[in-house]
Amino acid sequence: MDVRLSSEQLALRDSVAQVVDRLGPHTVRDLDDTERAAKFDAAVAAAGWRELRVPVEGRVPLASGVEAAVVAEELGRGLADTPFLGPTLAADLRRLAGAPPAGTAETVAFSRSLLAAAVVDGGVPPGTVAVDARGATCALVLVPVVGGHALAEVALGLVAVGTDLTRPGAAIDPAAVATPLDSPGSRPLADDDLSAWTALGLALDCADLVGTMRGAVGLAVGYASDRRQFDRPIGSFQAVQHLLADAHVVMDGSRSAARHAAWAVDALSPGDALAAAAAAKAYCARAARTVCETTIQVHGGTGNTWECLAHVFLRRALLSTDVLGGEGANLDRVLAHHGIGGGRGLR
């Protein structure tokens, strides 16, 4: 056992951090700076980070879940307003199905609850939504076939801003047509494939949540050190210190669980990888909401204004929580793995 990141993985983390720090948003106003956002998007595209799960040979991806998680964590920390989760999950679905990589920018459509990838059997169910859809022209959906599910594409309309100001989603028109992927070498996705894919998605959510927590704790600690009341920095008051200490501690515990989930994606069987990811996701989701709420609280009145970044962290955490389920759904997955409950049919 040695769970340290390798030198290459640390170098990858540093290069993502550099791009995020140079071109990512640093204020709420920056989110409206389309010129900056375009440069940021181009830099991320050029780095090839969205292609980490594209197969290099057979079904072997270019990089493991750990590398993908390293990227996701830094993007979360920097509130990156450029797609990663969506295209990465789309590429992994194509890899598992033996379909060729997408020719255009693509993401994945989810069911209304965001608990699972959208299944289209006939018409598109109402409420189907493409996540992390900025710049994408289409989204993958699942179509039931003999032996599992096949992949199909639906075209996307306008991208609408949702809860997460940095990763807008796109509603899918119920009249949209799901066009099966025309790829001779592909095969149906079995339940195991979807478990492995869900494990990756949860692991990326966890990594993004850890990054979001790091960013939020950093923002709050900086503010508490500067903001003065009663002639002292508010960070010198024990009541504030203990809130921030608790936030740091749950962030650090989340980091350990998230790293294991990222490793498990390619190292364990699909069922075990899913259980590892579900346990990590339940922990990280609960932690992240607490941490982001603490960041708002420590900022006081300012924290409740639109121009403070605190709510941007919270909003990002809430979307990461919903994608593939938050506490409840993932505790059910954990219990099902231990033979308790039916898991409500969750993969």
Binding site: Q241, A257, Y283
Partner: protein
């Protein structure tokens, strides 16, 4: 920094061999004691379990060979904890903090005289730190040790002293210099407990066990000057070394203890699922999630040490994670066992009640938060 190979939570071949050897041994040698925190029978069997583990090469494996260890990497302690939990065996005896403190501060003579007996389990030890008026404010301690020829004479009152009923030796902190600043006048001794000047009284805990906790009164107890651990006045740094290790779940083997309790709770629910409602099962799910997080957190911490990072203020982070895990397990035990339990069926209630001690022992959660705020987050001094 950074390892040559990528993140790997799986065993290396040598680690696998060790794990399988331990697993096979446990098939034969599991003493089948009740849960540690709930039963005096467990504590009564603790010395024999410690010696049995040590004699078969499964205790103290990460310590130096000259004190009975095997010089193995810290990950081997994780393997021991996982396998003990998996087999439902009692956890590893938790005394690593004493060993680390003595290794770091004592001279060669004291190390050679005392460490092998601690490690092999032949000598039982307790730790005389807290006093009625010196809990979180440990430097306020008033127990005194006065030089008398080749000996010191110790007078004072220690309290909340774990294992004091069973111990042959007490690592006692006492004031030897009353003229200097209070942190600087404290020395540490290895004091023999079986002598006329020492009186031990059990302190029953809130869950009713009587064999773990106690108070110790020293009334002219004598200790050879050669039993001083470190130099005169080095008691405070020694105590800080010890409590910092006492915060670490891997030093204590507690991750394994929680995993065993969770395993028992899961088995109980699986045996009769219809008896349990959604809220009870949800509390159990959190206990599973938290104890698994703690296991992985220990893996991460120990891996980071392969970079040569020595333990520091992050011990307070680990102590809080360990505390919240134990208390989540406690809440699951309460939820599933319930306060309605009576008589011989109150084990889960005892697990719950015992879990309240974890946010106090080895430094309260409030002290740990102060340390995280000042030493990790570098918030302004209060």
């Amino acid at each position: 920094m950074g390892s040559a190979v990528a993140v790997d939570f799986a065993d290396a071949p040598d680690e696998r061999e060790f794990r399988l050897r331990l697993r096979a041994w446990l098939d034969e040698h599991n003493p089948g004691l009740p849960a540690s925190s709930t039963d005096d029978e467990y504590w009564a069997g603790q010395a024999a379990w410690h010696q049995s583990l040590f004699d078969s090469g499964f205790f103290g494996v990460t310590w130096p060979t000259d004190i009975g260890g095997q010089d193995l990497a810290s990950v081997y302690d994780v393997i021991v904890d996982e396998e003990l939990a998996g087999a439902g065996a009692p956890a590893r005896p938790s005394l690593g903090y004493l060993v680390e403190g003595i290794l770091e501060h004592a001279d060669d003579d004291v190390q050679a005289r005392f460490l092998p007996g601690i490690v092999n389990g032949r000598d039982r030890w307790c730790q005389g730190f807290s006093e009625p008026d010196a809990g979180s404010d440990l430097a306020a301690l008033r127990t005194r040790a006065d030089r008398d020829g080749d000996e010191y004479v110790v007078t004072g009152h220690k309290v909340w002293t774990s294992y004091s009923d069973d111990a042959e030796w007490c690592l006692v902190l006492a004031r030897t210099d009353h003229e200097v600043a209070r942190h600087k006048g404290i020395s540490a001794f290895a004091l023999p407990m079986r002598q006329p000047g020492v009186e031990q009284r059990p302190l029953p805990m809130i869950n009713g066990i009587t064999k773990e906790f106690g108070e110790v009164l020293f009334d002219g107890a004598r200790v050879p000057a050669a039993n001083m651990i470190g130099r005169p006045g080095e008691g405070w740094p020694l105590a800080m070394t010890i409590v910092s290790h006492e915060r670490e779940p891997h030093e204590l083997g507690f991750a394994g203890r929680y995993a065993k309790q969770v395993k028992d709770l899961v088995a109980g629910v699986c045996a009769d699922p219809g008896r349990f409602g959604a809220e009870q099962v949800r509390d159990l799910a959190w206990a599973i999630v938290e104890s698994e997080m703690l296991r992985l957190h220990v893996c991460r911490r120990l891996s980071d040490r392969l970079d040569g990072i020595v333990h520091g203020p992050e011990g307070s982070v680990d102590k809080l994670l360990m505390t919240w895990t134990e208390q989540a397990v406690g809440h699951a035990a309460l939820s599933i066992g319930g306060a309605r339990a009576t008589g011989s069926d109150d084990t889960l209630m005892k697990v719950y009640l015992y879990s309240r001690a974890q946010s106090v022992m080895g430094g309260t959660s409030q002290i740990q938060r102060n340390l995280v705020a000042s030493r990790i987050l570098h918030l302004p001094a209060s």
